[in-house]
Structure formats: structure tokens, C-alpha cells
């Protein structure tokens, strides 16, 4: 890999939808691209979603298309379990240090699953935010690409690892794999490192760390997946009872100077969407209440907001929830003041979903050489206005701003062109 990358190579950090898009759009313009993904499979957070707003369609349909585009494109190479740890150099001439964690499975893997059958040890499923256990020899998820198993580091050195190795008839399990560090030359870099959910435990009054029936919006997505922790059933974590009456708490961490100062943009739409999930599970018995400051169903999303508002099973309360308590049967009780009419409430629900904010998942300042780029107060990478309108490092998707999928893909497509400008200049020089 390091031999083939040149100063005309575009390096993309992050294999979620933004990174896949940036990498593909550049590669489909004929550029050499290396895509580096920290997880064992591509797809990022989008692959952990149940459905998209506003079409209520599955993210995996587009993921399959993108993965097929990747499989068909020889200009695009993918490194998984890999992270850029350091970047130095200048536009048209960067050197990236990349740390690659051991998968303990090589390219011989046929995804037959014999290793998983041979292993009994379990780990928290990374794909399910640890909400369920999976075998320590696993395919990250149904649509995982590369279609290749992972032997978790926790078993690699022991008997279980040996069992996996012995079960494999293709010599695919390699327990001697070690973490390696490589250096890669490249001309431009796109940071599509995405977002992570704000740590809900930090919002102390909401009791996420204390109450089982207070969950985050990202965990809620996993609950709907038929291959997720609850088999697609909407059940309370505390007692497995049906969660028919669900509260959605907006701005959990966002628009709050004690937590995230910015608005995370997607959470309103996500909660509108998730309120529909409740209806999908429980039909006429479903009840959803959205506690909000402002519903931000921006631009054409208005149609979707109108559709949800027309649903009698969904109630809107304009209020920043003050605190959540738990009653005797474990139900969350939400306290606050309804801004419309200034009335106090104490509402009991089966389950409370915190619409947690988005924050950039990588601290760009740690990766870049000083001055290579700049971040704003929220940690998002800012566009640089250097010579010819840009420098050589660009952010795409949620590394640049709190964005929904559609806007992330736009951002990634734009970033691909800016990177192409740099490598084209390098080529002409």
C-alpha cells in the first residue's frame, strides 16, 4: 500500500456514508483513493440506523450500492481497523501515519462462519452499542463489507482463539497478527470521521446512568432492528414490558452551553421518525410525546413534520424537560413546564428516549500538525480559506458540521472536488 500511494493519492479518513461518498466520488473521477476506516466494516453510524427520515426507508439499500461501487472500483483501496494518527506535510505532499489494529483474519476468509461456531466466548456487540452479546468471532453485521470475520483481541491469545483458528479450513485465522503502523504519502486528505453521540450520562438530571428505561436515540434505533438486541421489538430494558408510550426528549445535550452549544440539527427529524416507529410496533395503542424547544423540520422536511403532527398518536409539548425521575414500576416521569400556557407537568411514560446531540468523533487538533486546519468551538473542522480557496485538508459530513445524511453526502461530494483540485495541481507541478 505505502509503495503505491503518491502525492496524487487522496486519503479519506472514515468509512461512514460521508467517507464512502467522498472516496467514491473522487475515485469515479479517476483519482487514486485510499479509504481508512477505524471499524472492521464500512457503513458507520448510518449502518446502525433502522430507517431514514423522511422516506422511512432503509439506509442499507444505499449502503449496498456504495459497497458495490467500491467493489467495482480498482482506484479505491480500503483499509479497515485503521486510523490516521498523525498527518504532516503540506498540500500536494502529505505523509499520514496510520495505525492498523489486528483483525486476526486474513483475506482467505470466506465468511462461512465456522470460526464463530467453534467459539463460545462473547463480547459486547460493537454494532449494537453493547446492548447485546455476540460471539468473539463475528461478522460485524449482516451487510458488513469487507465480508470478513473478526477475531476479537480478547480471545486471540487464548484457547478460544486457537479453536477459531483450528476450525477454519482456509487458513484465514491468523492469531499472530499484530498492530502495525504504516506511513502513506498523499496529496490531499478528507476527514470524514463523523460523529459520536453526546455522553448522555453527563446530563445528570435526565438519569440516563440511573434508570434503565431512559435510553438514547441511537440505542432506540438498534431496538427496532430485527437483528438487533431486542429482535426488533420495542421493549423496556428494565422489565421487557412493551414500551407503548414513549417520550422523546429533544436537545438532550444540544443547544445547551453546559453540554453542546450547537444545535445538532438531525435530532428533531430523528425523533419525528422514531415516533413513527412506536406506531409501527403498536398501532392504535402507540403513544409518543415529543418534548421540544423548536421543531426544526427544515425546508422540505416540513412535509414530514406535517405528516407526523397529523398523527393523533403523537403529542407535542413545547418544553425543555427539566428532569426525569423514576416511579415505583420503573417508568420514567418527566418534569418540566409547558411553554405554551406555562403549565407545569409530571408525565409518566413507559420509556424515555434522549435525543442526544452530535459531536465530532475525532479531535482534529490531535491528528494535524499545528496550523494544518482549524476547528471551531464545538470541534467541527472549519473550511480553510487558503490560496485558491483551500488548503490540502478538508472535512466532510459530520466532521465539518452537524448534518443529516443528505447534507453529509453533499458535503462529502464537495470535499472530493476540493481534494481533486489539490492533487490535480500536484500533478501539473
Amino acid at each position: 500500500m505505502s509503495e503505491v500511494a503518491t502525492n496524487q493519492t487522496i486519503l479519506v479518513a472514515g468509512g461512514g456514508i460521508s467517507g464512502m461518498t467522498a472516496a467514491l466520488e473522487a475515485a469515479e473521477c479517476g483519482k487514486e483513493v485510499v479509504l481508512v476506516e477505524k471499524r472492521a466494516a464500512l457503513g458507520g453510524r448510518v449502518s446502525q440506523l433502522y430507517k431514514y427520515f423522511p422516506k422511512m426507508c432503509r439506509p442499507h439499500c444505499g449502503q449496498e450500492i456504495n459497497q458495490r461501487r467500491i467493489r467495482a472500483n480498482r482506484r479505491l483501496r480500503v483499509l479497515t481497523l485503521a486510523e490516521i494518527t498523525k498527518l504532516r506535510g503540506a498540500p500536494g505532499d502529505y505523509t499520514a501515519t496510520i495505525k492498523i489494529a489486528p483483525r486476526h483474519v486474513n483475506s482467505n476468509c470466506t465468511a462461512c462462519g465456522d470460526c464463530a461456531s467453534a467459539v463460545s466466548a462473547e463480547i459486547d456487540s460493537p454494532h449494537d452499542y453493547g446492548m447485546r452479546k455476540v460471539k468473539a468471532a463475528y461478522l460485524p453485521h449482516n451487510l458488513a463489507w469487507p465480508q470478513r470475520y473478526v477475531i476479537d483481541a480478547s480471545i486471540a491469545g487464548g484457547e478460544q482463539g486457537a479453536a477459531a483458528r483450528d476450525a477454519c479450513r482456509y487458513g484465514a485465522v491468523d492469531l499472530d497478527m499484530r498492530e502495525e503502523t504504516i506511513e502513506l504519502k498523499c496529496g490531499a486528505v478528507i476527514f470524514a470521521t463523523g460523529w459520536r453521540p453526546y455522553d448522555a450520562a453527563k446530563i445528570q438530571p435526565y438519569g440516563y446512568a440511573r434508570y434503565d428505561n431512559v435510553v438514547t436515540s441511537v440505542e432506540f434505533e438498534r431496538m427496532l432492528d430485527p437483528y438487533g438486541p431486542t429482535g426488533g421489538k420495542l421493549l423496556r430494558p428494565s422489565d421487557g414490558a412493551e414500551a407503548k408510550d414513549v417520550a422523546f426528549v429533544q436537545c438532550a445535550g444540544s443547544r445547551d452551553r453546559n453540554h453542546l452549544a450547537h444545535c445538532s440539527r438531525v435530532c428533531c427529524m430523528a425523533s419525528l421518525k422514531q415516533s413513527m416507529y412506536v406506531g409501527e410496533c403498536y398501532g392504535e395503542d402507540a403513544r409518543a410525546t415529543i418534548y421540544y424547544i423548536d421543531i426544526r423540520g427544515i425546508d422540505r422536511f416540513e412535509d414530514f413534520e406535517r405528516q407526523v403532527r397529523a398523527d393523533e398518536r403523537v403529542r407535542f409539548v413545547k418544553s425543555k424537560v427539566a428532569r426525569i425521575e423514576q416511579n415505583a414500576d420503573g417508568s420514567p416521569v418527566l418534569h418540566g413546564v409547558d411553554t405554551h400556557g406555562a403549565r407545569r407537568y409530571a408525565n409518566t411514560h413507559d420509556l424515555a428516549v434522549l435525543a442526544v446531540g452530535m459531536q465530532p468523533s475525532v479531535d482534529a487538533n490531535e491528528v494535524f500538525e499545528e496550523g494544518a486546519t482549524s476547528v471551531d468551538a464545538s470541534g467541527f473542522i472549519q473550511a480553510r480559506d487558503g490560496e485558491n480557496g483551500n488548503d490540502g485538508v478538508f472535512a466532510a459530513g459530520c466532521a465539518a458540521d452537524a448534518l443529516d445524511v443528505n447534507r453529509s453526502v453533499q458535503s462529502a461530494t464537495a470535499a472530493a472536488l476540493r481534494a481533486i483540485q489539490v492533487v490535480n495541481r500536484a500533478a501539473r507541478a
Binding site: Y170, D299, R306, H340, R407, Q410, A414
Partner: protein, 765 residues
């Protein structure tokens, strides 16, 4: 393009993999015989075909003269790196014995499992026999023009032009007015783009204009419009009209940056717009602020020139409303603009009153900082809905009557000036579906089906529109509209998906947006335009079959000029020539095969996907006789969603009926009725068509393919009638890629249904 006769007889080599349990579960010797009988000149078995050694053996076969490979191993979606022989020039048929057979059949099934494998291998050999490795069209038939035409000289268009030029591409920029800059050039200040998001930013549009004017790769045409556009990516031709003169320019791709129109505020008499000059819209307020700045004076009230001491902003004026004449959507940027404009007053005079009356304040992302900064400056934000504005007489203040949502009561705010935050209306040209309906006096002709025409209520805002692009396409002069007049993509994952290959809309024609977003969007659109010219130059398809070299060829002598292909192509790729024959524009084509499915006389095909490559597979399936009690069910599965769902079912070892034979297809739209007729005549007991969702929220990757297939079902019903067969014998289903358990269940349920109605009486004839 005419079909070229294949000169050399295909030389087929079959390779059977024994790995992943195939060797244990299947009789490979028997399979080897099946392959030989089906025309394979050489058959080899291998313990692990995808391994280095296996792949080397296959390459050896190619060196020995094999032109067509049949790989009996895993799904075509697995091991794609190992089994890629495109550079070797070989045509490859993947026979899915692993996911398609042993992983979806119980271990103890024995005979039926082997029969399934036998059939799939026969099918693979038949497919191989009738396919050719795709070759790009000849270089001299491709369009090689790499210039980019940008229509619109506002911020979006200038950005698209500049970004493309900076990547080294030549750009023609056409602007209808006499100057670059669009709406943006008349703004006083703009929304901040960079931290600290605490005050309005300088309007740097003039710098952008200057950069465009100085860029050597950009040629600007002012006072110009597009009089006609023809051609295809890589070889578009555009007539640029400037006054009396029209010049024809050759270009490779187009960015449509035609901007927006201001919503006509005179449609809001309840807000006194037009009754008093002291009610203005946001653009008019910008002009007042600029004038004040130039005069070094406070912002003056239009009626009497008095310095404005109090201003009320009415958010969502004529927007987010279902009233006739209002915009049903939110324009996305007016909250930010009102915050900025309120700051104009507070930053000049902290004593001035600025009150923003809103229902939902929408300042996403770092807009929150900007919102907070305004609050700190003393801008008042009132949660409520404005009902009416009354003009004062003799210099009195205006009265803004609103429902205060916090106090839950009616209230009045008085102000010297009222600013209406009205929205953006897309300047996206002619609504071609509406035009078609009007002209023909009938429903949608472009195959969108009934669902979409029902959705297309008359545009809520009716503004006279002229065509932006003047395309001479068979299907109309502009990009199709999606909703509310916007020319957006329907796909969340693929915002630049366009229904006119090589033409990309950006900025407010796609959806309402602010300048910052429009600039980002324009940059993305410029990339897609560049990609379109690069792909066209290499003869490769654009998204979603990116890189596909196959293209439809057409046999002229059989064509009856029925025009169905030209009408049904979801991408408007096919025109008519002077004699009424279809004229394929290969680089507009997306290789979905909808034309092939549409053609009643079967004269359209691709090298590696044709009426024969699928039809011969159907014929290759061994048909047990009526008394064997082994029905056969044909499943035509969309390769994008249904087929991956079946693969994933296999990975989860979910079993399904052993009597089905699955053939992946590019799109349900490519299903030619002859496959169904032939299958019924051959004795198939049932046929399942598995495609994507159709209708308003369609998931079909080729837009209308799934809907067309359902429409064509009507004709298939006629066929069933003629054959006196039950209608259940052919069924279409909508499935999603995540229907991992559901698709096998659908298959099993359908098989049970076929059991119920009994065998096809045509068996054995």
C-alpha cells in the same frame, strides 16, 4: 448503434468450488457432468476456488483460450476481488451454489438440493453462452468534450464555475442578467460562515464575482440564456443566445444553478404588504440597510424616512402553510436571515426594539451561536403566530396582531417597520410532467404510474415559468421536478442523483437554502459534472451502475417504432430519429434495462444482459413432469435489494423452498414479458417478481422500474387469461434489502399457494 454479430463461438470453462461445504453437500462429479452437457469445454474442481491457487487456475484457463467463465461457488456479491477477470477480457457467470443452495437448504434435503445446484449450473452455462464481456463503445463514438456549462451567475453558479475551473476544467457561465452576483450581490451583510458566529459577516460576493471574472478557465456570457440544448454527456451542444446573437457551444456536462424567485409578498394582504411601504420583505430590508450604510444614517422607514426605532419580523410569512397561494414548505434560511437583520438594528442602536415573532426558531448547527448572540444583543424572540398587520395612519406605528403562544392569548406588537420573512420559490423551469398531462390530456406518460400523478397537485404557487435548459429531449425541456417545484434527487444517500445524466441542479432549485449551503452544493454539483465528462470519455456508466461499460444495442430491422422505450426510459436517454426509430444516447443511459423490458419485439439488449442471457437461463432449467410433484417457481429478483436480502438470509442460514430458481436482474423494469410467457409455456408453476418500492416514496434505484413492472403486470394478466392460467401464477412483490427473514417467508408462502392451486397444466408440452 446496431448489434454486432458475435463472430467467435464462446469457449466456456466451468470451475466448481468444493469449499465452504459445497464439496460435502453437493455431488461435484455430477455437477461436472452437468456443466459438460451444458456446453462447458473444460470443467475443473477446486478445494478453494477463491484462494490464490484457485484464481491462478482460472487465469490459466483464460490463457488456454477460455472466453467465458462459469464459476460455481458463492454469490456474485461475495469474493468479488478474487473473481474479477474484467482485465482478462473474460465474460463471467457466477453460479450461486453457496448462498443460493446449500446455505438455504436443510442439510438432510438431499435430492432437491442437488437438483437446485444442477439447475443453477445449467443456468450459468446458458447465461455465459449468450453473454459477452462488455466493451466500451468505440472511442470515436464517445463524447470527449470536457467543458462544463454553468447556467446561472449567482453565488451557486459562480461557485460551481470557480470550483470546476480550479480543478482544471474549462467553464462557460451563462447569466441571464447584465451582471454576475444574483441576489447575493444586493445583500448588506451575509450570515457568518466561520466561528465565532456572533455577528453578520461582510458580503464578499463582489470578491467572488471578481475571482470568476479573472479566472482564465471561465468564459462569462451576460444577458444570455440557453435557447436549446441537445446531445449527451461528453457531447452536449448548447445554443447560447445573447440578444440577437446565438452561438452554439459544445460542452460535456451542465450545472443548473438557476437560483430562486422571491415569494410574491403581495399574496399576503393580511400582512398589509403593498398597502404600506413600511411592510417589506427580507430582500427589501437588505436594500434599506445598504442605503442606510451608504448614507451613514440609521435605517429609514420607507414611508416617511423616519429612523426605525422598532421593527417586528414576521417569520414563516406565507410559508409552512397549507393555505392557497402559500408555500407548504419551510425555506430553511429565513430564521437566520431575520436574526441577522435584527442585528442590523441592534448593532447600530442598542436601544432600538427588534422583535422576531416565530413558531419554531430554526437555526441549526452553529446557527445556535448566532441565535444566542442576538439574544445577548437584546433581540426579542416571541413565540407566537402573526395573524394580521395593520398599517397606521399619519405616521403612526404598524400594529402586528398575533397569538402569543406562551401567554396563550392574543396580543399586539407595535413597530415602525415590519419585515416579512417570506420564502424561496425554486427557479427550476418547466414542470415537464404537468406539461405532458396538459398536452396529452391524460395521465403521466413518462411511466411514473398513478401514484405520482396523484401526488402532483397543482403547484401551490403558480408562477409563470420558462424553460431553463430548453432540452430537445423526447421527454421534455427541463429536469423533472420532484415536489413543490424543486428539481431535487429523491434519494437520501444520493443527493446528486439526476434523471438527466450529466445535468446537475444545485442551490435553491434543489431545495430552499442559504448561501453557505448553496456554495457547498454547487461544489458538489461541479464534481458530478466533472465525473460525468470523465465517465463519458471512457464510455462508462454513471451512478448507480458506475463504471459499467455495457450499453444497450438495438436491432433496427425488427423495430416497430412503437416508441415505448423512448417513453419509458426513466432518464430520458432515448430520443427518436427522423424516421421514428429510437435513438440511443449511450452516455445518458444508466444501463438499467428498462428499455429492454419495454420492448415488445425484443430488439434491445446489452452485451452481458439481454433477453437471451435471462431467457436462456429460464429455458435451461430442468422441468420435472407433472407427476413428479416438484413444482418449479421462477424468482426474478432485483439485484440491488431483493438479491442481497436473499444472500443475507443465507448467511443467517434461513431456509426456503427448494423448488425456486432465482435469477438476479438489474431492475424489475428490465423484465421483458417474454420471460414470463416463456416460463409459463415451459411449465413453471409460479413466477415471483421481487423489486423495490414504487410510488411516492419509491426506492427503485432506477426511479420508475418497479412501478413499470407493476403496470406491465396488467398485460401479463392478459397472457394468463389467454393461457387460462390462474392470476396467482405471476406475482410482483415489493421488498427491501433488510427483509432478510421476510423474503424467504414470501417465497415459502408463495410456494404454498402454488401447491394449493396445483401444477401448471402446460408442463411437458
Amino acid at each position: 448503434m446496431t448489434q454486432q454479430a458475435e463472430t467467435a463461438e464462446p469457449k466456456i470453462a466451468a470451475y466448481l468450488c468444493a469449499g465452504c461445504g459445497l464439496g460435502e453437500r453437493l455431488d461435484l462429479e455430477r455437477l461436472a457432468k452437468v456443466a459438460a452437457e451444458a456446453g462447458a469445454g473444460a470443467v475443473e474442481q477446486h478445494e478453494m476456488l477463491c484462494g490464490e491457487d484457485g484464481v491462478a487456475r482460472i487465469r490459466g484457463g483464460i490463457q488456454d483460450g477460455a472466453t467465458h467463465l462459469v464459476l460455481g461457488a458463492c454469490s456474485r456479491r461475495a469474493k468479488t476481488g478474487a473473481f474479477n477477470f474484467a482485465d482478462d477480457g473474460a465474460a463471467v457467470a457466477r453460479v450461486n451454489l453457496r448462498e443460493g443452495v446449500i446455505w438455504t437448504q436443510p442439510e438432510d434435503a438431499g435430492e432437491t438440493t442437488q437438483e437446485m445446484a444442477d439447475d443453477y449450473l445449467r443456468m450459468g452455462c446458458a447465461e455465459a453462452k449468450f453473454m459477452r464481456a462488455p466493451r466500451a463503445i468505440a472511442a470515436d463514438e464517445r463524447g470527449a468534450n470536457k467543458r462544463i456549462l454553468v447556467v446561472g451567475g449567482g453565488v451557486s453558479g459562480m461557485t460551481a464555475a470557480l470550483e470546476a475551473a480550479r480543478a482544471g476544467y474549462e467553464v462557460l457561465l451563462v447569466e441571464k442578467s447584465g451582471a454576475l452576483g444574483g441576489w447575493a450581490k444586493s445583500l448588506h451583510r451575509r450570515l457568518p460562515r466561520r466561528a465565532p458566529f456572533s455577528a453578520p459577516a461582510e458580503n464578499d460576493t463582489a470578491e467572488l464575482c471578481a475571482a470568476v471574472e479573472h479566472e482564465k478557465n471561465i468564459t462569462v456570457f451576460l444577458n444570455a440564456h440557453i435557447a436549446r440544448t441537445s446531445g449527451a454527456p461528453g457531447r452536449f451542444s448548447a445554443d447560447i443566445a445573447q440578444g440577437e446573437n446565438t452561438r452554439t457551444e459544445n460542452i460535456g456536462a451542465i450545472v443548473q444553478a438557476s437560483g430562486f424567485r422571491r415569494y410574491d409578498a403581495s399574496q399576503l394582504p393580511e400582512f398589509a404588504y403593498g398597502k404600506t411601504p413600511d411592510v417589506v420583505d427580507q430582500m427589501e430590508l437588505e436594500a434599506l440597510a445598504r442605503a442606510a450604510d451608504e448614507n451613514g444614517a440609521p435605517i429609514a422607514r420607507p414611508s416617511d424616512g423616519k429612523a426605525v426605532q422598532s421593527v417586528v419580523f414576521v417569520q414563516c410569512a406565507g410559508q409552512r402553510s397549507e393555505k392557497p397561494g402559500h408555500l407548504p414548505y419551510c425555506s430553511g434560511c429565513c430564521c437566520g436571515v431575520s436574526i441577522k437583520q435584527a442585528m442590523y438594528f441592534k448593532m447600530r442602536d442598542s436601544e432600538a426594539d427588534a422583535n422576531i415573532i416565530y413558531t419554531d426558531l430554526r437555526a441549526p448547527g452553529n446557527g445556535e451561536d448566532f441565535y444566542r448572540a442576538a439574544q445577548e444583543m437584546g433581540v426579542v424572540f416571541t413565540n407566537g403566530a402573526v395573524e394580521r398587520v395593520e398599517a397606521g395612519t399619519n405616521g403612526a406605528q404598524l400594529a402586528v396582531h398575533f397569538r402569543d403562544h406562551v401567554l396563550d392569548e392574543d396580543a399586539v406588537a407595535r413597530a415602525d417597520l415590519v419585515v416579512l420573512a417570506t420564502g424561496q420559490v425554486a427557479n427550476s423551469g418547466v414542470d415537464i410532467s404537468a406539461v405532458e398531462k396538459n398536452e396529452d390530456g391524460e395521465k403521466e406518460k413518462n411511466g411514473n404510474g398513478k401514484d405520482e400523478s396523484a401526488e402532483k397537485k397543482p403547484a401551490q404557487v403558480s408562477v409563470p415559468v420558462e424553460s431553463i435548459l430548453q432540452l430537445d429531449y423526447r421527454q421534455g425541456p427541463d429536469l423533472p421536478h420532484l415536489k413543490h417545484g424543486f428539481s431535487d434527487s429523491h434519494f437520501i444517500c444520493f443527493p446528486y442523483e439526476t434523471r438527466r445524466t450529466g445535468i446537475y441542479a444545485c442551490g435553491p432549485p434543489r431545495r430552499p437554502m442559504d448561501m453557505h449551503q448553496a456554495m457547498e452544493d454547487a461544489t458538489g454539483a461541479a464534481l458530478k459534472a466533472i465525473q460525468a465528462v470523465e465517465n463519458a470519455g471512457l464510455g462508462r456508466a454513471a451512478h448507480p451502475r458506475a463504471g459499467d461499460l455495457s450499453f444497450p444495442s438495438f436491432r433496427r430491422d425488427g423495430c416497430t417504432q412503437c416508441k415505448r422505450c423512448t417513453v419509458e426510459c426513466p432518464f430520458g436517454a432515448i430520443d427518436q430519429d427522423a424516421e421514428g426509430y429510437p435513438q440511443f444516447n449511450e452516455s445518458r443511459c444508466r444501463r438499467c434495462g428498462t428499455c429492454m423490458g419495454a420492448c415488445p419485439v425484443r430488439v434491445i439488449s446489452f452485451e452481458n444482459y439481454s433477453v437471451d442471457t435471462v431467457g436462456q437461463q429460464i429455458k435451461a432449467i430442468d422441468m420435472p413432469d407433472e407427476f413428479d410433484e416438484k413444482p418449479r417457481i421462477l424468482v426474478l429478483a432485483c439485484e440491488n435489494d431483493a438479491y442481497p436480502a436473499l444472500d443475507m438470509a443465507a448467511h443467517n442460514r434461513i431456509h426456503y423452498n427448494a423448488f425456486v430458481r432465482v435469477i438476479p436482474i438489474r431492475c424489475l423494469g428490465s423484465v421483458n414479458a417474454i420471460w414470463v410467457t416463456d416460463a409459463l409455456n415451459a411449465g413453471f408453476d409460479g413466477i415471483m417478481l421481487l423489486g423495490c418500492k414504487k410510488g411516492d416514496d419509491y426506492q427503485c434505484h432506477f426511479v420508475t422500474g418497479a412501478a413499470l413492472a407493476h403496470e406491465r403486470m396488467g398485460k401479463i394478466d392478459d397472457t394468463l387469461n389467454q393461457l387460462q392460467l390462474e392470476p396467482e401464477r405471476v406475482r410482483a412483490f415489493e421488498v427491501e434489502i433488510t427483509d432478510i427473514a421476510r423474503v424467504p417467508q414470501l417465497i415459502n408462502d408463495y410456494a404454498a399457494k402454488i401447491d394449493e392451486i396445483g401444477m401448471n397444466p402446460f408442463k411437458g408440452f
